[in-house]
């Protein structure tokens, strides 16, 4: 029925927003009422939201951006040294997680990772020398996101590090991420002790080449398919990746055995390394995510959130329709479960590009598929399901491949709309590890964090500025 015939002749079912009295009066007439808990949008966005609501271009742009996001089919095709493939990476450039920052602004774990990278690349002999060179500006620092890459926690990428190469043959896109070092004292948590550097050297000497050969032999690994399966096995793609790591090993296992670029013991060491690192798959998910969001970027007027990333000092987001602009706010301190005797006082502000998983419908948005995650980040299994359900209100689609069994295989909430975030007051949920604020301490805990509303307020106002008045 057209709206008017239906209005006049069909039984009304009413959605209310505003004063309760009116909803009550309808219910007393035995009318089905769906109430909303309405409250005003984020302070300072009313004008921008009205402008965006009156522009059909926004809805059209979002449809285009979302179609591109959901069409991405990332495949792992190779592992090679970063300097060879990552665009713009020179001998004197280090990439890092999150929005742009300077050495002076960097927090403990970020500094530690940069020091470690200096030592690893042989650009400094001692930590003190590394600090002095970095402070003097010897090295150019740039966000991974500006170079088709993503890195977890400090996310530092230097030229000698082996990187995963993820491609989408259909769209021609490509993205990169490092190989995950494992837990404990690792570079990405800001550790730079000799054992950390030694491990990095083993990774570029053995892990990278062997793993890369296995990948080339077995052919492109369909990451979207792997992630979809892992999700149904209780992974969330961000902080719980055990199933994904296991599936990955199965996929390249035969090729690993057949590979002839290294000795049997080296190949066994590679296998053991991946086997003992439940987070190995994370970096693949992140590279897949980066490829996906890059495909959806640059659609004028689109309010799709393509990047959420932190550098330990600031939390930054980007929208598809606002070009290269970052919208930043101070990175929050994560509160959650702390290891041993650590407390929130020991924690570094939120850090890492891994929030890219939430921008493609995984991580905090897929917790309902991963109730066991609460053992890592705290909370209850019921809470985990509720958090996913809350995210449907701020996303534009349900993922066609990433499905959640307990929700009757409903697709994960995918495609964060900055407009919906500011209208509803519901902030994207990210589950994350927590780094110690002193460099070299490593992981102190894990928990849940919400993206700062200030980022979305700025983004929405900027987007509205680019829209013509109807």
């Amino acid at each position: 029925m057209s709206g008017l015939e239906r209005l006049l002749a069909a039984e009304p079912v009413v959605v209310t927003a505003g004063v309760e009295v009116l909803a009550g009066a309808l219910e007393s007439q035995s009318v089905e009422v769906h109430r909303t808990n309405w409250s005003p949008p984020a302070h300072g966005t009313a004008g921008a939201l009205a402008k965006l609501a009156s522009a059909p271009a926004v809805r059209e742009a979002n449809q285009i951006a979302m179609a591109r996001l959901l069409a991405a089919r990332p495949h792992l095709v190779d592992v090679v040294p970063a300097g060879r493939v990552v665009p713009g990476l020179t001998e004197r450039t280090f990439l890092h997680a999150g929005p742009p920052l300077t050495w002076a602004e960097a927090s403990g774990p970020m500094r530690g990772a940069l020091i470690g990278a200096m030592l690893y690349e042989g650009l400094a002999a001692t930590p003190e020398e590394a600090i002095s060179n970095l402070a003097a500006g010897d090295i150019d620092l740039a966000p991974c996101h500006h170079h088709q890459s993503a890195g977890p926690m400090a996310g530092v990428i230097s030229p000698s590090m082996p990187v995963l190469v993820v491609e989408d043959a259909d769209s021609g896109g490509v993205a990169y991420s490092t190989l995950n070092e494992g837990l404990g004292k690792v570079l990405r948590y800001g550790a730079y002790a000799p054992e950390v550097i030694e491990r990095l050297r083993w990774m570029d000497r053995v892990l990278g080449p062997v793993f890369g050969d296995a990948v080339r032999r077995s052919g492109p690994v369909d990451l979207r398919s792997l992630i979809a399966q892992a999700l149904q096995m209780g992974d969330d793609g961000h902080n719980r990746n055990r199933a994904g790591t296991s599936l990955l090993l199965r996929t390249i296992g035969a090729a690993l055995v057949e590979s002839d670029v290294a000795s049997v013991s080296d190949r066994a060491a590679v296998y053991s390394f991946v086997d003992s690192n439940d987070h190995f798959m994370l970096n693949l998910v992140m590279a897949a995510g980066k490829l996906t969001v890059d495909a959806a970027s640059g659609v004028e007027h689109s309010s799709l959130v393509t990047v959420m990333a932190r550098n330990g000092t600031e939390f930054g987001i980007r929208l598809s329709g606002t070009g290269d602009r970052w919208f930043t706010a101070p990175a929050p301190i994560v509160d959650g479960l702390f290891l041993g005797s650590f407390t929130a006082a020991d924690a570094s502000p939120d850090i890492g590009d891994s929030a890219i998983t939430e921008t493609i419908g995984l991580g905090g948005f897929a917790m309902a598929a991963s109730p066991a995650i609460v053992g890592f980040v705290g909370g209850t299994a019921t809470g985990a399901v509720q958090r996913t359900l809350a995210m449907y209100e701020i996303t534009m689609a349900e993922h066609p491949s990433y499905q959640i069994p307990i929700l009757e295989f409903r697709g994960t909430p995918t495609g964060i709309d900055a407009i919906l975030v500011t209208r509803t007051g519901v902030r994207p949920q990210i589950n994350t590890g927590v780094a110690g604020k002193e460099p070299g301490v490593g992981m102190v805990g894990a928990g849940l964090v919400e993206a700062p509303m200030a980022c979305f307020v700025q983004a929405v106002n900027t987007l509205a500025g680019g829209v013509a008045v109807a």
């Binding site: 039984e11 219910e27 007393s28 007439q29 035995s30 009318v31």
Partner: protein, 283 residues
């Protein structure tokens, strides 16, 4: 009796809900307070027999029937079982632990727009393409030959034929009876209720013995042109008032096949009326 007086007589233990009800059963619900019997309950409905009529109490999303009372709770629980006593009257329906207090009435008899024979013919053809019709036991043929005797014979074959609370044969009859009653005037055909007048007595006298109490009640309502919402929507679609595809989708919300079987009956009535008017030289 005012609302306040009614409330004074309510027992404290019953959960009281505002309800909407069909005008088709207003005389029972507004009449004096009388006992009834709970015939049965399902997850979203309860059937109550009172004063020789059957009422259906439904929750949210329940299909609105011509003998229906609806409350807006999704899955209210009537903590009671078949055979227990209910009370009906003075604007209320009490069944088990639930009291439905009628605050609003709907009209189960749709008002159809005036429409041309040509228009209806086209829409009937369209409708026939969109679903497969059930076996009409020869009723269609009998109608088209305008043979009242053959029609009555076919009707007896259909009454009570099929499974469930509303057997398929009854659904077809509901469609034919309501279609004749309502589409005739919409088409501006004089004497359109002649065939319906020939059919009605059989329904009214035979149905109570040949089929379920609920189905017999729905047949009685159909004679008066009172139908379930999806059937009303289908009739509106045949007069071009609403989208046919949408109306047909709505039919599928009525039980398993009930909606489609009823629509088949409506189409038989429409074809009879159209043929009749062509025969008489009307346009």
């Amino acid at each position: 009796m005012s609302v306040r007086q009614r409330q004074g007589r309510q027992k404290a233990t019953l959960a009281s809900l505002p309800a909407a009800a069909s005008r088709g059963v207003r005389h029972i619900l507004d009449g004096p307070r009388q006992p009834g019997v709970l015939l049965g309950t399902s997850s979203n409905a309860a059937w109550i027999q009172a004063r020789g009529h059957v009422l259906v109490l439904g929750g949210t999303n329940a299909v609105r029937l011509p003998n229906g009372v609806t409350v807006t709770k999704p899955a209210y629980a009537i903590r009671s079982s078949a055979g227990e006593r209910c009370m009906v009257g003075e604007g209320m329906l009490e069944a088990g632990n639930l009291r439905a207090s009628i605050v609003r009435w709907w009209d189960p008899r749709p008002t159809l727009a005036q429409v041309s024979v040509l228009s209806v013919t086209g829409l009937v053809e369209e409708a026939r393409k969109r679903f497969v019709c059930v076996d009409d036991g020869g009723l269609g043929e009998a109608l088209m030959s305008n043979d009242a005797g053959a029609v009555r014979h076919a009707m007896c074959g259909l009454l009570g034929k099929g499974e469930g609370l509303t057997p398929e044969g009854d659904d077809v009859l509901v469609g034919v009876l309501a279609g004749l009653r309502l589409l005739g005037p919409a088409l501006g055909i004089l004497g359109a209720d002649g065939m319906q007048a020939a059919m009605a007595p059989i329904v009214l006298t035979e149905a109570p013995f040949r089929t379920t109490a609920l189905s017999a009640a729905l047949l009685r309502h159909a004679v008066a042109g009172e139908v379930a919402d999806p059937v009303a929507a289908f009739l509106q679609a045949l007069t071009g008032r609403i989208d046919l595809a949408e109306a047909i989708d709505g039919l599928h919300t009525m039980g398993n096949t009930s909606g489609v079987a009823t629509a088949c009956g409506v189409l038989l009535a429409a074809e009879f009326l159209v043929r009749g008017s062509v025969h008489d030289g009307q346009r």
